[in-house]
Subunit: 335 residues, 2 copies
């Protein structure tokens, strides 16, 4: 492992994805990626008594799927990296309680999937662990009532608002002869250009996305044309336009290579999700289904995957604060 | 870096503490460790408009102190590891926004100091970073109103309750010829023996503390007698007794070597803190002052430092859930 440039960490013996799993809710199952997910539930409660417990069950389900595909028992995993959007990350702590795996709790808002996979990869590469796992989730109903309004209130949504994905993605990483592997990780810094509209997360996260991507390109002396595709997590329609604009100022054009998980997971025309999908579960469930399937089918060999997060809380917004954003990036390859 | 036993990671070229800083509030300054802290404030708002902004300022102050002592600029730090107790960890994201350091957000409740220092050490040891920093905080007023009751309500406290420390500790780590260094890290698993009383965090965290400590002893084939002292984070009086009881079942007695940061920071007789201090800032501010000073004065050479966290939220408690605990351990030495 070595630093390349200022921010990028190169993994010289890149850890491989040994298994992955995804589970989503009804709306996500009705979207364009329907056939990609391992499983889905049409019940917002997922058989539990509360939305929060349902979210924990989403994580458990995704993790069990990833473990099964990796042919691993929980006991084979040295460390698990997880976090979610709920206060005190209870989605993760209550889902992982029963597995007995040493737990490294994260908070990166919707950037959690890239953050957790990045750290899990570093642990394998460095010899700190043999096998690791990464998992995150979000749930439309638990997020709405925590961040915005009670669902029953029936509040109207603004055009820039995004729809929190009900879903979870999990990945198991370890050494392997060949496979899809994590070649480089760039952890981002917090960026805040002063956006205060909590219904416009895309715009709040775009500066962080631009910053991390530009740092990565500089560190590695590469450009958009060197990658088959550049996935962002959940910038949605508004955030994507803002990202293009910010990159243009630096003479970087990613348009023909870029795709956003928040725009892939829903059909904006038909599914009434306004600016697109969001939430930790958005990039997690898309990575652990659609993206991995494209690798397996040979559609691409070298991509960038960058989850983006908005690090505010309802309290900070009520106190008049702007919204800090963050983005973490993975270079994923299959030779 | 290599695994020792099942859970412990040995750092073969142990990263050193290059600098550390602590800042506390009025009550902590009036306690037994008064002279140890770098700075304190008698104003709960720390010159800010809200308790949450005050908590962010605590982190900034501790970090700036640590950077100054390490003779570093923010730009010298490759990655910073931080988290806190506030919803969505806004204590950390808003404090670190201005530093421009790649940010890895954590949620480990009161275990955050050992978690962040552990990860920061691994990054240095593995070559992923040259210099890293770890910081966390808590604030009595922001924690009370978020987890329990509005302060103005004047609620009575139960005898098992602990007093959230207003304070922050920060540490800068890197390679150095000699100094206080991190030799081993054991990340703990989530333990939950069914405690449901949110006013008895000590008892909820004790099983995790026992589990991590026993795993470490087993992995390293050592026992309490091999260490000058074993610090726990914030078990307080009740949790400490529970830990002794749980360890006794395994024929391990740490009584003559054990000290708890939550019992060190306040005078339980005179300061009306019931079972002792708690909060991320408790073990952080004690580590980055008193503990580091003892090393510098040659009082000890080989210690264990284990922060403990309770991974519940008010929502999970309202939903009838028990309280999952976690504990992460560091072996800190000075040759």
């Amino acid at each position: 492992m070595k630093k390349q440039g200022k921010r990028t960490i190169l993994l010289e013996n890149p850890p491989c994805v040994l298994g992955y799993g995804s589970v989503v809710g009804k709306k996500e199952h009705e979207g364009p990626l329907s056939a990609e997910f391992d499983s889905y539930t049409t019940d917002s409660f997922f058989g539990e008594k509360t939305f929060e417990k349902a979210e924990s069950k989403l994580q458990k389900t995704a993790l069990k799927t990833a473990l099964r595909k990796a042919d691993c028992k929980p006991d084979d995993i040295d460390n698990i990296f997880a976090g979610d959007l709920l206060n005190q990350c209870i989605g993760s702590s209550f889902s992982l309680r029963e597995f007995g795996i040493p737990f490294i709790g994260l908070y990166g808002a919707c950037s959690t999937m890239a953050l957790s996979v990045g750290l899990a990869s570093l642990f394998v590469e460095s010899g700190a662990a043999e096998k690791t796992a990464a998992v995150t989730s979000s749930h439309f109903c638990s997020a709405e009532r925590q961040y915005r309004f009670p669902l029953n209130y029936g509040c109207q949504r603004t055009p820039t608002a995004q729809w929190t994905v009900t879903g979870s993605g999990a990945m198991v990483l370890g050494k392997a002869e060949k496979g899809v592997s994590i070649h480089a990780v760039t952890f981002g810094e917090i960026e805040d250009l002063g956006i205060k509209d909590a219904n416009n997360m895309g715009a709040a996260m775009a500066p962080a996305a631009a910053s991390t991507l530009l740092h990565y390109f500089e560190d590695t002396a590469t450009g958009p044309e060197d990658y088959d595709v550049i996935y962002t997590g959940d910038l949605g329609y508004v955030g994507t336009q803002a990202l293009y604009m910010l990159l243009e100022r630096e003479q970087v054009d990613i348009r023909c290579r870029h795709s956003d998980c928040g725009l892939l997971i829903f059909d904006r025309e038909k599914q009434d999700v306004h600016a697109g999908g969001s939430g930790c579960g958005c990039s997690a469930s898309v990575l652990c289904s659609f993206v991995m399937h494209r690798f397996e089918q040979g559609d691409f060999h070298n991509i960038l995957f960058m989850s983006t997060g908005a690090l505010m809380s309802p309290t900070s917004s009520f106190q008049g604060e702007s919204i800090p954003g963050i983005a973490h990036l993975l270079n994923i390859r299959k030779d």
